[in-house]
């Protein structure tokens, strides 16, 4: 075992597994999980010759109000960069094919599937992930609180994407009808079928209490 792995193992005992993995990834240290994900990727030979006019790999991107410097492969999607290089694992990868919405993020206030967006395409734009929604003291965003109050999530896997889509909707249309919200949320799949709870939560966050439907 190398020193790095010994240190890492000791560190792992102190921290929760999840915290540990996040820190390792964020720091860029080559520990098992990170190298498995990034190192085992087909077709991304390191240090490839740059053809003239092609993009630079080292870029700065604005994520949740912070400028983050990161080495981005030309073919890398934003979901990959966020999760595996910036440690922002709130953005989920469900299908990786623009078919589920688990990876929904905001770019300049508009929702996109991070799995189907090239990271090099967001330079100069503002990315907001679910991690960027909490308040200065770590309190939940009103939309997140409403999701909790309305028992929105079941398994929770789709929830970060649902939250981001809902926040984007309310920024554009602070008082949507239930039908408008349903339309705006139609790009976010929920395998648990918690759609009504999510719509109730959006109506609550928008202060539209008469549009909350409880019971069958």
């Amino acid at each position: 075992m190398s020193d790095l792995t010994v240190d890492a193992a000791a560190e792992a005992r102190r921290l929760s597994r999840r915290e540990f993995i996040k820190r390792v990834i964020a720091s860029g240290a080559v520990a098992s999980s990170a190298s498995f994900v990034m190192g085992g990727l087909a077709g991304c030979a390191p240090a490839r010759r740059q053809v003239s006019g092609a993009v630079e790999r080292l870029v700065s991107i604005n994520v949740n109000g912070q400028l983050r410097r990161v080495d981005v492969l030309p073919q890398e999607t934003l979901a990959m960069t966020l999760r595996y290089k910036l440690g922002l694992t709130g953005t989920k990868l469900g299908c990786d094919r623009a078919e589920c919405g688990a990876c929904t993020v905001m770019i300049d206030g508009t929702t996109y599937y991070a799995c189907s967006t090239l990271t090099h395409g967001v330079r100069g734009r503002k990315v907001v992930t679910v991690e960027g929604l909490r308040g200065p003291d770590g309190e939940l965003h009103p939309v997140q609180q409403a999701f909790v109050d309305e028992l929105g999530p079941q398994c929770g896997f789709c929830t970060p994407g649902q939250v981001v889509a809902a926040v984007a909707l309310l920024q554009k249309n602070p008082k949507p009808s239930r039908e408008e919200a349903r339309h705006a949320m139609s790009g976010n799949l929920c395998r648990c079928g918690a759609y009504d709870n999510y719509l109730n939560a959006i109506m609550r966050a928008a202060g539209n209490l008469t549009e909350i439907h409880h019971g069958a």
Binding site: G43, A54, P74, M80, R97, T110, T111, S186, G187
Partner: protein, 329 residues
Amino acid sequence: MLKDMMPHFDLYQPDTLEAALDLAARLGEDGWLVGGGQDSFDWLKNRTRRTSAVIDLSGIAALRGVRVRDAGIEIGALTTLTEIEDDAVIRSRYSLLASAAGRVASPQIRNAGTLGGNLCQDTRCWYYRGGVDCYRAGGNMCYADTPEGQNREHAIFNASRCVAVTPSDTANALVALDAQMVIAGRSGERVVPAAAFFVGPDIDIRRMTVIEPGEILTAVRIPATWSGAQFHFEKVADRTTWDFALVSVAAAFRMEGEVIRDARIVCGAVACVPWRVTAVERALVGATRNAATADKVAQLATGGARALNFNQFKLPLMENLIRRAIRGA
């Protein structure tokens, strides 16, 4: 399904059309154009297609937006589907296109997807998408048009070896509006009517449009002809989000009082190209736009159709959608 990085490609992000055309000319077939990438990335992720270079057009500001031009409008090819759905001029004068754009895929895909990409996207036949060596992929058989082939989504018109259908929702609206496609190459620009832009398998089985390697679709022009006409768009799919049409109809009616002076009826997902139903269009001229007319002429729509094993339902579906379009649903 693989959830890892796409295989390597060099990425170019030109910010002018000239730079993009230079790259497209230099890279030829190796330079994969990307608008929003919502069709392209699936091919690359699935490894059913590979490319050594991607030319990302999304940074070319000049190719974006809606402009009034010669009493009609010109839409930059990089304008997103959401921008088209929300555009005030399109909504007031050519709402057919706004309706069609608003029925594509999902909100997030419409936010990223461009008009050019929507028009140039490849067919969704799953055998082909799955990477089999069918006719369209350069092989010598069609897997969909066999006794066991799963062809519920496939064509009922104009098949020639290949029975795949056009996937684009906006294409049908643009054919109905007599739009013109502006195509740029290094040696200049050519303008092609929408109806001639899409290519069926009888003409070339390997491609969906007339665009050649090295060329870029820069804009779509819609003439004043159909401005403010009466429109009807309807799309039937298995799901209301994320799903391609089983059959769709884009219809335009120019009226003189109660009487139809001219009409366009274009169906999606019944042929490899947007399918103009000229027999119905002709029968509508001089008729009143009402249920009686609808019942009389709708059956003309399916003359010459040839159903496959699993898509007989498309014939009555197409007739009924056209009936609804003529009555105004």
